[in-house]
């Protein structure tokens, strides 16, 4: 299943929508596409509603994005995570680094408040 991403902005915050399976094969490509987007402005919303599978490699890619955002004192919010993926992230200790929201709108409000 190929990986697809779309980039858009909502109220000047970058929103990247990802669909497909994020694993050892697709994660490096995703990372090279998303990293430059962080250059201009720290914060980022990842709309992962379309992600059906996230492997360890995928989790590590998300954590690297988080590190880059923090380095630019921005934040990374994850929206629309499937319950199983959110659950595996919690159990393996990855979830606590991120702000998590059910939808992109909710992610926007939380990012703006903080």
């Amino acid at each position: 299943m190929a990986i697809k991403i779309e980039v858009s902005t909502r109220d000047e915050i970058m929103v990247v929508t990802v669909a497909g399976e994020v694993d050892g094969g697709s994660a490096p490509g995703l990372q090279t596409q998303i990293l430059p987007l962080l250059q201009q402005e720290g914060s980022l919303i990842l709309d992962l509603g379309g992600v059906t599978y996230m492997s360890s490699a995928g989790l590590r890619m998300l954590l690297l994005l988080y590190r880059q955002a923090v380095a630019r004192n921005g934040r990374v919010a994850l929206a629309g995570l499937a319950e199983t993926i959110q659950d595996t992230m919690a159990v393996t200790g990855f979830l606590k680094f991120f702000t998590v929201a059910d939808s992109v709108d909710q992610a926007l409000t939380t990012l703006k408040q903080a």
Binding site: S56, A57, T88, V91, G93
Partner: protein
């Protein structure tokens, strides 16, 4: 990113780009652009790397190691451009098949890498495997990066520990546990608040190295249920956490999940000890499967008789040849890996006496493995706990070669306390030794009370509740006509065998459980509690439940309300131990810098009754200057009465402005049986004697 100048392919086989690898570390290591595979065998003549697509029945490719890729007895190779998450790997080893000479090479077998850091094949606990899979336990690659943030091993002083022995699956598998992922590391993580409330600061996990729960599984002749290798005392891989214990096992994230469990336990002030099994492997004897060691280098990994058969000091078919230099190195590498990569705080060695035997089974006076473990720089702060006996008759409780580093499961403590509690004669003198941390066993060459791990029950044998509800073992469910399991339980059923609704008998059983916990937590040495004993868990009289995946082993959490008084009693006793440094000594009384004393009393103050017929003992713990010159440190007093009727105990005098306060009295029903440390009930000012109920214990605190 590939900054190294020597990382380019030099060979090719079957479309895979290769180059000679690095001889260490052993196992499979991710390197820029590929994976470095390294494995050693002294007697193999050739070696082939076998690659699988994850879960596929047949291999994807077989790459034979060119002889130029060999360094001494170690084959090593880098394979480029592998998808780490989709690959499984194994080895074929060729060599002589001459059992009498100790060689059992078999090229047709695909062998598991002994240094595999993740193992597939049993992703979901108890899911029947494909029995004719040529490679049932498959080595996999892992990401070794994990964000520990600021976590590191807690390095708590051994004397401060209260150890809680638990089985990962049993702890939360019962539906009453109410956790999202029953029977897993994640389930255990969800119960950390329970452990904190109880006051536990160390958990000892029964084997979590990958093992095969289906090893000699068979239907139970009585119930028809499947009987498994449930406890896991038969290791398949020494470097991989059991995948079936991980909620994320099916997604291959068991390594991250277990590391996160250790991190969460540490964050809550709880140390993690691993129960490790280096005395035998899952390959059993000649009839057992060839999974790994037997096919890689049988003569090196196993203790063999001159005729090439397997010595059986473990009672499980084979004996790992721990004092062979290569195996010794593997054991050391394994423990260092868990200590450094998983932040593990210590290890409990199953049947550790075997580690002190030479390759022909003779006990060594200065076993190299135990010595190198005791002085290893990475393991320097790890607790090393030995079950100081083995199934070959070597019993070393008190004489285990310790180099001042090793602690031991004190089997004598277990038996002596059980016998005193049930009212055996002649136990008072030896009870006094146990309470002091067993100086009779550990008082030589600078060992202290922390050499003694005190326990009354453990996974092997009765639970504490069953200890006072059954005279005899009831192991019919194990399918061996009740012949398995020990017979020297020193238990007493308080008058009725098994469950009863007689209120007197049940009240006596609760009292006996409280008496046991009171002695355990007041004794010098390191106390260990068996999971569930704090709420009266029962195994219905079965003292050998190694094979049951059911409520014989599962922790029934509904016991929390039914036996809330036992939970409260345990919690307060642990709190008492935590409050009073007097109870957590590093040195035996009268030795070492701490100036504290133990003074023996009996039904008469200052005059303990050591006679054979006596069933009473009392003692007082205090700092030498207590009550003098402004020193207001508290005095602890404990009266133990294992006689069946009440006895008045004369109380020793206290310093002038001190007064006795009642902390615990197991003769009284809850909530009067125990108080919160610091909120004890004052006795009458003039009271100089206290009636201690039959088979009861009283603890008093003397303070201004």
């Amino acid at each position: 990113m590939d900054t190294r100048i020597d990382f380019y392919p030099t060979h090719q086989q079957q479309g895979y780009k290769l180059r000679p690898g690095r001889a260490f570390p052993f196992g499979a290591t991710l390197v820029p652009g590929g994976v470095n595979f390294a494995i050693c065998s002294r007697h193999a003549t050739s070696c082939t790397l076998v690659l699988f697509e994850k879960g596929a029945p047949a291999p994807l490719a077989e790459i034979s190691f060119p002889d130029s890729f060999r360094v001494g007895n170690t084959w090593c190779m880098v394979v480029f451009d592998l998808d780490y998450e989709r690959i499984e790997y194994g080895y074929r080893m060729d060599g002589p098949c001459d059992p009498a000479a100790g060689h059992r090479f078999d090229r047709s077998k695909i062998l598991l890498d002994p240094y595999a850091k993740a193992i597939g094949g049993r992703e979901v606990w108890g899911e029947p495997p494909d029995w004719n899979d040529p490679y049932p336990h498959r080595a996999r690659l892992i990401f070794e990066d994990f964000d520990w943030e600021d976590d590191r091993p807690l390095e708590k002083p051994l004397e401060d520990l209260v150890i809680y022995e638990l089985h990962t699956r049993s702890f939360t598998r019962h539906p009453s546990a109410g956790v999202k992922h029953p029977g897993t590391y994640a389930g255990l993580m969800a119960k950390i608040p329970y452990l904190k409330e109880l006051g536990i600061n160390c958990v000892e996990l029964m084997p979590i190295f990958e093992f095969d729960e289906f090893e000699n599984s068979r239907p139970n002749p009585v119930t028809g249920e499947t009987m498994y290798n449930y406890w896991g005392y038969s290791t398949v891989g020494f470097f991989a956490p059991k995948t079936g214990y991980a909620a994320t096992g099916p997604f291959g994230m068991q390594v991250d999940e277990f590391k996160n469990l250790v991190k969460e336990l540490h964050r809550n002030g709880i140390e993690v000890l691993l129960d490790v099994v280096f005395n035998h492997t899952a390959e059993g004897n000649e009839q057992g499967p060839t999974l790994s060691f037997r096919g890689i280098d049988n003569q090196t990994y196993y203790m063999l008789t001159p005729e090439g058969y397997y010595f059986n000091f473990s009672g499980c078919g084979n004996t790992l040849n721990c004092n062979n230099p290569v195996v010794r190195m593997m054991v050391l590498d394994c423990l260092r890996y868990w200590a450094a990569e998983y932040h593990i705080d210590g290890f409990r060695f199953d049947l550790a006496a075997i580690l002190g035997r030479d390759p022909w089974g003779a006990p060594l006076s200065n076993p190299p493995l135990l010595e190198s473990l005791a002085f290893d720089p990475i393991l320097a702060k790890c607790k090393l706990i030995a079950e100081a006996w083995d199934a070959g008759g070597l019993y070393q409780v008190g004489s285990f070669p310790a180099y001042g580093r090793w602690a031991e499961w004190n089997g004598k403590y277990r038996d002596d306390i059980r016998r005193f509690l049930k009212g055996d004669e002649g136990m008072v003198p030896v009870l006094a030794e146990r309470i002091q941390g067993s100086p009779d066993l550990y008082g030589w060459n600078k060992r202290g009370p922390t050499a003694s791990i005190n326990f009354i029950t453990c996974h092997d044998g009765f639970t504490l509740y069953d200890q006072f509800a059954y005279n005899d073992k009831h192991n019919e469910a194990n399918g061996e006509q009740n012949r398995d399991g020990g017979n020297d339980n020193h238990s007493w059923n308080c008058g009725v065998e098994g469950e009863t609704d007689d209120p007197e008998v049940n009240a006596l059983r609760r009292r006996m459980i409280k008496n046991a916990l009171a002695i355990l937590l007041m004794s010098h040495g390191v106390p260990m509690i068996l999971m569930g004993d704090e709420v009266g868990r029962t195994k219905r009289g079965n003292n050998n439940t190694y094979c049951h995946d059911n409520d014989l082993n599962w922790f029934d959490w509904t016991l929390l309300e039914r036996n809330a008084d036992l939970f409260n009693f345990t919690r307060q006793m642990i709190a008492l131990r935590e409050t009073h440094a007097l109870l957590r000594a590093r040195d035996f009384f009268g030795t070492g810098p701490t100036q504290s004393d133990i003074i023996w009393h009996g039904t008469q103050a200052w005059n303990a009754d050591w006679s054979p017929g006596s069933r009473t003992l009392a003692f007082m713990l205090r700092e030498r200057q207590a009550g003098q010159g402004g020193n207001t440190s508290p005095v602890l007093y404990m009266a133990l009465n294992s006689y069946w009727d009440a006895l008045p105990f004369e109380l020793p005098e206290l310093p002038i402005n001190y007064r006795w306060h009642l902390f615990a009295n197991t003769a009284l029903p809850t909530p009067h049986d125990i108080y919160e440390p610091g909120h004890e009930a004052p006795l009458e000012q003039f009271q100089h004697s206290f009636l201690v109920g039959g088979r009861s214990i009283v603890i008093l605190i003397g303070h201004p």
